[in-house]
């Protein structure tokens, strides 16, 4: 936030300087968050680094923040992705409607909001970040995107506002109830102790859930995503799909389940069904896409289905798997979008059939895309496999049929990745592809940490799982569930 302030006072002519300051600032933030992770006590499941200052005392609204394992890893994801995105898309802002300066301010403001939304422990503060996040992203899509950007930006905004308002209604509702029972508060921990009658709880739950299902996005609330992803710049898409959408699934864990455990239980069958539909539907839609950005967007819908299924399976494997999935999906989608963005920029087209034979023209670009694709289809040895398998095994122990249908998704994943791989990377070199340039040094520097993370997290996910596990288990236990025990007891 401070860096954004510094940039805003700089003259907008000095683009290069602005970019460098923004990048350096985001690196500092990333390093700071890593120090935070090192200082985090893994065995302690209560909130850490807690800060609370009165903000609007009249309504007992506090600027209250704190971290547990789940929010910490998501903040890490956000802060690591921002410098990568800035470096990867150095020239993205140049042709925009507004100046580069504005672009960088927007990105950094967005980063602040993202950190805030994951750290907030005051419901109202969360809501403010949740809604305020829309503003920078709206301008990022509308100001710097490709054709159709305005319509996509408005569609995105309307969808989100609609969900946001439903959530606001629920927030006010629960605030009123807390006023009747324990004294009006927005404090999450206190709100979780409320006794709410079933009908009300169900309604309040739905207010939150629909908002998050739009954000996540879950079928059938998904149609804004492909449009937004197609219109946005690749960097914006990375932040949109990689981080912002995680607020939806994060919200399901943090608010839907923790505040309304009974309603969560009531709606679980419906939600699991929607999640399974998302997995399969997203995959089929991805197979049918002609536009590479649209394809990646639909694969994400399929992946969000997995995440949601893992969350509501209410087993420690499902919950931890879903949390890990959020992180892994962030990195693999970031890789896919950034590399696809470079391809599109070079070829001036995002249509899959305009590419061909890239493996022989631009081997490095082709290989990085291939590895990111393999991660997306959850090849064992790469990061997504661990999370996807945890989700499936965690779901299987409670909802075997859902898990079986979800597993069919892995065949479809092979198709939706290998079809574009074959069309774009293999085959004879397509017309217009002969002279495409391979990755520059800057681009290689930007993408290599992502690829490295994808590989390392596939072989050694333990550091992240150690952060996630205690909190995930706590969520499951607090919601009143215990893991199903093996049928053959040792």
């Amino acid at each position: 936030m401070i860096i954004a302030g510094i940039i805003s006072v700089l003259p907008s002519k000095n683009n290069e300087l602005i970019k460098r300051i923004a990048f350096a600032g985001s690196v500092i933030v990333a390093l700071a968050s890593m120090f935070l992770a090192i200082g985090f006590d893994k065995s302690n499941t209560s909130l850490q680094f807690v800060q609370s200052n009165a903000w609007i005392p009249t309504f007992n609204i506090n600027y209250a923040v704190g971290l547990d394992g789940i929010s910490l890893v998501l903040i890490l994801l956000s802060t690591i992705l921002v410098p990568i995105v800035l470096l990867a898309t150095w020239h993205e802002s140049d042709g925009g409607r507004w100046s580069s300066k504005a672009f960088y301010i927007l990105i950094l403001v967005l980063e602040t909001m993202m950190i805030g939304v994951f750290a907030a422990t005051d419901l109202f503060l969360f809501y403010v970040f949740f809604e305020a996040m829309l503003i920078p992203i709206y301008f990022l899509i509308g100001g710097y995107g490709s054709d159709n950007k305005s319509a996509a930006a408005v569609k995105f905004l309307l969808y989100s506002l609609f969900g946001g308002l439903l959530m606001l209604a629920s927030i006010i509702g629960i605030y009123v109830i807390s006023g009747n029972q324990i004294g009006a508060t927005f404090d999450l921990t206190q709100l979780a102790t409320l006794e709410i009658d079933n009908r009300t709880e169900n309604l309040l739950f739905l207010g939150f859930f629909i908002a998050f299902a739009i954000k996540a996005p879950l079928w059938p609330f998904h149609t804004w995503l492909p449009d937004a992803a197609k219109a946005a710049t690749p960097g914006t898409s990375v932040l949109l799909l990689g981080v912002l959408d995680k607020v939806g699934t994060y919200g399901m864990i943090r608010f839907c389940i923790q505040l309304f455990p009974d309603a969560s239980k009531t709606f679980t069958p419906i939600i699991i069904t929607l999640a399974v539909v998302s997995i399969i539907y997203g995959a089929f839609m991805a197979i049918g896409q002609k536009d590479i950005k649209g394809l990646i967007a639909f694969t994400s819908i399929s992946h969000f289905g997995f995440i949601t299924m893992g969350i509501f399976a209410m087993t420690s494997q499902g919950m931890s798997g879903a949390n890990l999935y959020m992180v892994n999906h962030g990195f693999s989608t970031a890789a896919l979008f950034l590399i696809a963005g470079w391809m599109i920029k070079r070829r001036s087209s995002s249509t899959i059939s305009d590419f061909g034979g890239l493996q022989r023209v631009t081997p490095v670009m082709a290989w990085t895309f291939f590895i990111a694709g393999m991660s997306s289809l959850a090849l064992p040895g790469l990061s997504s496999f661990v999370s996807e398998f945890l989700v499936l095994v965690g779901t299987f122990t409670r909802y075997p049929i859902a898990a079986v249908i979800g597993t069919i998704g892995i065949v479809l994943a092979a198709l939706y990745i290998l079809i574009p791989v074959q069309k774009m990377l293999h085959g004879p070199i397509a017309a217009g592809n002969e002279k495409l340039a391979d990755l520059s040094l800057r681009e290689k520097l930007a993408i290599s940490p992502v690829i490295l993370i994808i590989i390392l997290m596939g072989f050694y996910p333990k550091p992240v799982l150690d952060l996630i596990n205690p909190t995930s288990e706590k969520v499951v236990v607090n919601a009143g569930y215990t893991d199903p025990v093996a049928k053959v007891v040792k």
């Binding site: 905004l157 309307l158 506002l161 308002l165 439903l166 606001l168 006010i172 509702g173 009123v176 109830i177 009908r199 009300t200 309604l203 998904h222 149609t223 804004w224 089929f284 839609m285 049918g288 420690s316 494997q317 798997g321 493996q359 022989r360 290989w367 090849l379 064992p380 040895g381 496999f385 661990v386 398998f389 945890l390 095994v393 965690g394 299987f396 122990t397 075997p400 898990a403 597993t407 069919i408 892995i410 065949v411 994943a413 092979a414 290998l418 079809i419 074959q422 990377l425 293999h426 004879p428 072989f459 996910p461 333990k462 596990n469 995930s472 893991d483 093996a486 049928k487 053959v488 040792k490």
Partner: protein
């Protein structure tokens, strides 16, 4: 159990070498193949050392393990990255690294003209690493990493010349068919975890007897599905023929000797599941029996020498799968046939590669003929492989295949007779199509239609073939001497503890029957293909031949049942998404726009959508407050 610090090097060496070659790119052009081959040979050396160390230990302490690190641990789901080398996996380690190293050497010459040879070697090393992980993993999840890893290597190698669209498609087809099998493996692991709370071989083996037969049957059937994908068994067999798009050394190593036999390994490794799941075991027999005939029939009609050999591989793996369904003693015979097959089939594939090398990459046997006198060494080694596969004593196939046929007859009752007859008929067809391959390629009139005479391949190619053909001659005798392999594997699959059923037929009778059907098969082929042949395939052929040429309609079936309905489903979904789901959204949007413009006139130009939403929001808010406070 003993631990050994060496095991990880088996995998790590080829893995690092592969990474180095891929990262170095063109810079490794001059030394890439040397590094890769050296690494493969080093892995083989480690394997040999481990083998002799194992042999020197008493039977109960032969297995060694190495725990590397905790891989995944969530709740009760704990999986270590941990390796296990026991009597079963050492067989595979030696096969993979031994045959693998020979094929590396062969490829140095075979691929010498290819600009991307270093990349080829990087993929080969990647394959070796993944295949070793597959057989060394001590749990199903570790195995799974290797399982998909070899699938990836196979994909990359089939599509090595992916600038040709058909080859790229073949690679994709192999990956997707394998993924269908992988669904089976995933589900088997999930069921195993739900049942036993464990996914390691040792953990499941210990408790297998306490599980219900439904659970074991479910696990068994899912494992069988996995095996069908990887080992090209019916109904997931269709990718193997197309996989011949890969360079010939790949066909020899991956699609004949090692990777495609992973299904046999999986079932043998899971013997504690199958032995207690009779229905799953019966399905194993059925799949094995169907595939061995299916492959053999296809093999009779193929004119592409590599595709004929691929059909033969499918059929021979059918024998192995069938053997694994025959209970404890069957596993040992399956592994024996797997090893002998590894030698003779790899030798014949490399021989086919040698022929292609001398024939300008021609694969159509109708355009071969009389090559024997130009390429005597290739012809001789191919001939030894031929005698081994059709099962002429004392060549390798005689020992291993006869045992399977004998055990099939001894399965008892109608089942025994059906299986016995199937394996016998398979042996006859094998003799027929292999004789056909040999005659069309090495004998008869010269049909290649150009004046350049075929030339014998360089020594770097011939030496590996020669070494493999030594294996096709002696391996059967060596492995079966004093029931050596059976005793060796006893601690894993308990073959000798089996209550010995009454022999249906004495071994000598089975051997006599097998030899007679082989003679019949060979004779028919000689009668049919002696004398001069045309350089084009006859058109006016029986409908069975036509069907076999079309791979018994396997692709037509998949296209009609899966691909076209799948495509129309996708296009329907695309329409549905645009018209119905997004349509609803757009309808709401346009209503709000209309309403908004009216509201705007009322409210002097507020942003219309905001305005409407504020109203909706306020209404929703009021409703909720009313509900909550009511």
């Amino acid at each position: 159990m003993l631990t050994s610090a060496n095991l990880v090097w088996l995998i790590a060496l080829p893995l690092f070498s592969s990474a180095i070659l891929l990262l170095a790119g063109k810079r490794s052009n001059s030394w890439g193949h040397v590094l890769a081959t050296t690494v493969s040979a080093s892995a083989f050396t480690v394997g040999v050392i481990e083998f002799f160390a194992m042999q020197g230990r008493p039977e109960e302490s032969r297995a060694v393990t190495q725990k590397l690190f905790t891989w995944i641990s969530v709740g009760t789901f704990k999986v270590d990255a941990s390796l296990l080398l026991d009597q079963l996996s050492i067989c595979f380690v030696l096969l993979i690294t031994g045959v693998g190293t020979l094929i590396h050497i062969y490829s140095i010459a075979y691929m010498s003209h290819d600009l991307d040879r270093r990349r080829f070697f990087a993929y080969l090393n990647l394959f070796i690493a993944a295949m070793l992980l597959l057989v060394l993993g001590d749990s199903y999840l570790n195995l799974y990493v290797g399982w998909e890893g070899v699938g990836l290597a196979s994909y990359l190698l089939i599509g090595f010349w992916n600038q040709k669209p058909a080859y790229a498609t073949a690679a994709k087809k192999a990956f997707v068919a394998n993924r269908v099998g992988d669904v089976g493996l995933s589900l088997a692991i999930m069921i195993a975890f739900a049942t036993f709370g464990d996914v390691s071989f040792a953990g499941i083996k210990e408790h297998a007897e306490h599980a219900s037969s439904t659970q074991l049957t479910a696990i068994g059937l899912m494992l069988l599905l996995a095996a069908c994908g990887k080992s090209a068994q019916f109904p997931l067999q269709s990718w193997l023929g197309d996989a011949m798009a890969g360079p010939t050394p790949v066909s020899a190593l991956i699609h004949a000797a090692t990777m495609v036999t992973a299904g046999v390994y999986l079932i043998t490794r899971s013997n504690f599941i199958f032995d207690q799941a009779p229905i799953a075991q019966l399905m194993v027999l059925v799949i094995g029996g169907v595939t061995l005939l299916f492959g053999a029939i296809i093999g009779t009609a193929k004119d592409d020498i590599k595709k004929a050999l691929a059909a033969s591989t499918m059929s021979q793996i059918g024998y192995m799968i069938l053997a694994t369904g025959l209970g404890p003693i069957g596993y040992a015979f399956a592994i024996m046939h797997l090893l002998t097959h590894g030698f003779f089939k790899a030798s014949m594939f490399l021989g086919a590669g040698s022929v292609m090398h001398g024939m300008k990459d021609e694969v159509n046997m109708r355009k071969f003929g009389g090559i024997g006198k130009f390429m005597p060494i290739t012809a001789l080694t191919f001939g030894l492989g031929y005698l081994a596969i059709i099962g002429v004593p004392p060549f390798a196939g005689f020992y291993s295949k006869d045992k399977i046929i004998e055990t099939a007859f001894n399965a008892g009752g109608v089942k025994g007779i059906a299986l016995g007859v199937a394996t016998l008929v398979g042996a006859m067809i094998t003799a027929f199509y292999m004789t056909r391959v040999v005659i069309l390629t090495f004998f008869g009139n010269e049909r290649w239609g150009h004046t350049d005479e075929p030339h014998e391949s360089p020594a770097l190619m011939l030496i590996p073939i020669a070494l493999l053909s030594v294996g096709s001659v002696v391996s059967g005798f060596v492995l079966s001497k004093g029931q050596g392999l059976v005793h060796w594997l006893e601690p894993i699959v308990n073959p000798l503890k089996e209550h010995h059923a009454e022999e249906f037929l004495p071994p000598i009778v089975v051997s006599a029957m097998t030899l007679s059907v082989v003679v019949i098969g060979v004779s028919i082929a000689i009668m049919k293909y002696r004398g001069d042949q045309l350089a084009v395939a006859p058109v006016n052929v029986s409908s069975l031949t036509k069907a076999a040429r079309r791979d018994l309609f396997q692709d037509d079936f998949n296209e009609t049942v899966f691909m076209r309905p799948g495509q129309s489903l996708v296009s329907n979904l695309l329409n549905l998404d645009y018209l119905v789901i997004d349509g609803t959204v757009r309808a709401v949007g346009s209503i709000s726009l209309t309403a908004g413009s009216k509201l705007r006139s009322l409210q002097n130009g507020y942003v219309r959508s905001y305005a409407l939403l504020t109203v909706i929001g306020a209404l929703a808010l009021l409703t909720v407050i009313w509900v909550v406070t009511a």
